[in-house]
């Protein structure tokens, strides 16, 4: 037994904290992010019901659709990622954020920026778009300043730190790219609109969201599945493949270099396949055989990632505009992959954090619930089924150009989002007893 690895927790109550957990922020900081993210999810899914027929007609460049898209990408996904990172990143690296006050400030600016962007795109006001860009840039910059430099002082969790840093760098690039689009609207210059949107979307979804998920998931998935013994050496290749792929693809799209586009797409595909192989090892080698609602949604998210990758490759090779298939690809990537993954993880970490906040001082007492007892299981399964079926149904209906089908599928997503909001409100304020 190595003495250097030994930490003592002695009575009486001057006990030291378990290394890493002292770096966790207050429950309020994470809670406000998650509450706002759920509100955005609900707003976005209601908006999706409105714009679903437009999507089925291939109108993914219509301002209303772009506004709804950003309810999901900035409101739901980015706010969720920032909230989760404030909890997970300091604990994993053992170094706290610089300032919790800055965390609250960046949260407020992110919400204001997202609201401004959604309003600006819905009614198409370029000045509002520019103001939103400034606010969002400040929010992302503030978050990065507050959290990411901790990596320099970390003695563990370096891979997670590298993935999160790379993800934020990609988000910064995505923001610079989209600034070109805003500048075009303001009459400052001319750019290839479709190329800018493609580069922006891939940098945001593959670069920011996926790299962050790979980094954070490398810690969470083995923990939740109890698959610590899974071979992870391939993990070091996923980031370089995805990161290089998305940068090469975005640059080639902007420069209109077809071989570069294909090379970037191939690198991203390879990265995704290596990642899915790693995830398959986690799932196959798990000690916990039964998958709960959260982990089941995560598995559906991985299936969506595979489908999105296959469709994306087909579209890249075809190299002919197909608005409906492009929209279906975006739905599989944004909703099927990132939204469902985030919702699956919510079903794990929201009860987890609530339990820590409310019951951690009572371990050993007979009436203390388990983390899983905080969830209403039928509601969780219903939420997962509605979101998964709605998302896959929406992608299918949009690909086939079925407006009515798309609206029904979007309604399923909206009901799933409402179920999620009800679930997590119940987790936060309910008083469940110990399960038998």
């Amino acid at each position: 037994m190595a003495d250097r690895d030994r930490q003592a927790v002695s009575s009486p109550r001057r006990a030291t904290l378990v290394p890493g957990t002292e770096a966790a922020p207050s429950f309020v900081l994470v809670g406000e992010h998650f509450a706002a993210a759920l509100a955005w999810l609900l707003a976005g899914s209601i908006g999706l019901v409105v714009v679903a027929p437009l999507l089925a007609a291939g109108g993914y460049l219509v301002p209303h659709v772009i506004a709804v898209t950003h309810c999901f990408t900035l409101g739901w996904i980015t706010t969720s990622i920032f909230g989760a990172l404030y909890q997970i990143y300091p604990v994993a690296l053992g170094v706290p954020a610089k300032s919790e006050r800055v965390g609250h400030a960046t949260f407020a600016v992110l919400q204001l920026g997202t609201l401004t962007l959604v309003i600006g795109t819905w009614w198409w006001r370029p000045v509002l778009l520019a103001a939103a860009w400034v606010l969002l840039f400040a929010a992302v910059g503030g978050m990065s300043w507050n959290l990411l430099p901790a990596r320099r002082h970390a003695t563990r969790g370096r891979r997670l730190g590298a993935y999160v840093t790379a993800g934020h760098s990609a988000l910064g690039l995505a923001m610079f790219v989209v600034f070109a689009r805003i500048g075009m609207e303001l009459g400052w210059w001319r750019v290839d609109r479709l190329a800018v949107i493609a580069a922006h979307a891939h940098l945001a979804v593959v670069g920011f969201a996926t790299l962050t998920i790979v980094g954070v998931g490398g810690r969470l998935l083995p923990m939740f599945l109890l698959s610590h013994h899974a071979e992870e050496w391939t993990g070091r290749w996923i980031g370089p493949l995805l990161g290089a792929g998305v940068v090469v693809y975005a640059a080639a799209r902007l420069a209109d270099l077809r071989p570069g586009e294909l090379a970037g797409a191939a690198l991203m595909t390879l990265g995704v396949l290596v990642y899915l192989a790693l995830v398959a090892r986690y799932v196959h080698g798990r000690t916990r055989r039964a998958l709960d609602p959260g982990l089941s949604l995560v598995v559906v998210a991985f299936v969506s990632l595979f489908c999105a990758t296959a469709l994306g490759d087909a579209l890249a090779w075809r190299h002919a505009p197909s608005l409906r298939l492009d929209a279906a690809y975006a739905i599989l990537g944004i909703l099927g992959w990132v939204m469902l993954f985030a919702m699956g993880i919510y079903h794990k970490i929201v009860p987890f954090l609530t339990w820590l906040h409310r019951f951690s001082a009572r371990v050993g007492e007979p009436d203390v619930p388990r983390v899983a007892d905080l969830l209403h299981l039928p509601l969780a399964w219903t939420c997962g089924a509605l979101l998964a079926a709605g998302t896959l149904g929406l992608a299918g209906a949009v690909a086939m150009g079925r407006g009515a089908g798309a609206r029904w599928a979007a309604l399923g997503i909206a009901l799933g989002a409402a179920a999620a909001c009800a679930q997590f409100a119940r987790v936060a304020v309910g008083h469940p007893g110990r399960a038998a």
Binding site: V9, V18, T21, S227, V363, R370
Partner: protein, 95 residues
Amino acid sequence: MSPALLAERQNEVYRRLCEVIDPEIGVSIIKLGLVYDIAIDAGDVTVVMTLTTRGCPLGHAITEGVRRMVESLAWVTNVTVHLVWDPPWDPAMIR
């Protein structure tokens, strides 16, 4: 302390630790194989244990639960919980 008394007290501590449940997994820390050793010297109890993952967010709650449960034994005057990472926990350690 006679060997019989020592064994009896170790059993008492062991039974108390069986009541400390990992709240995420829903299994006692004894059954999970997280407790490596229990040492007793008069009223001083030292529990050597690990966690399922380093930097586990529930770690503080679990070690405090261990301390509280062992302290509740009448003859215990001091509890020390040593967290170790070597050997690292593995699902194969589940009993």
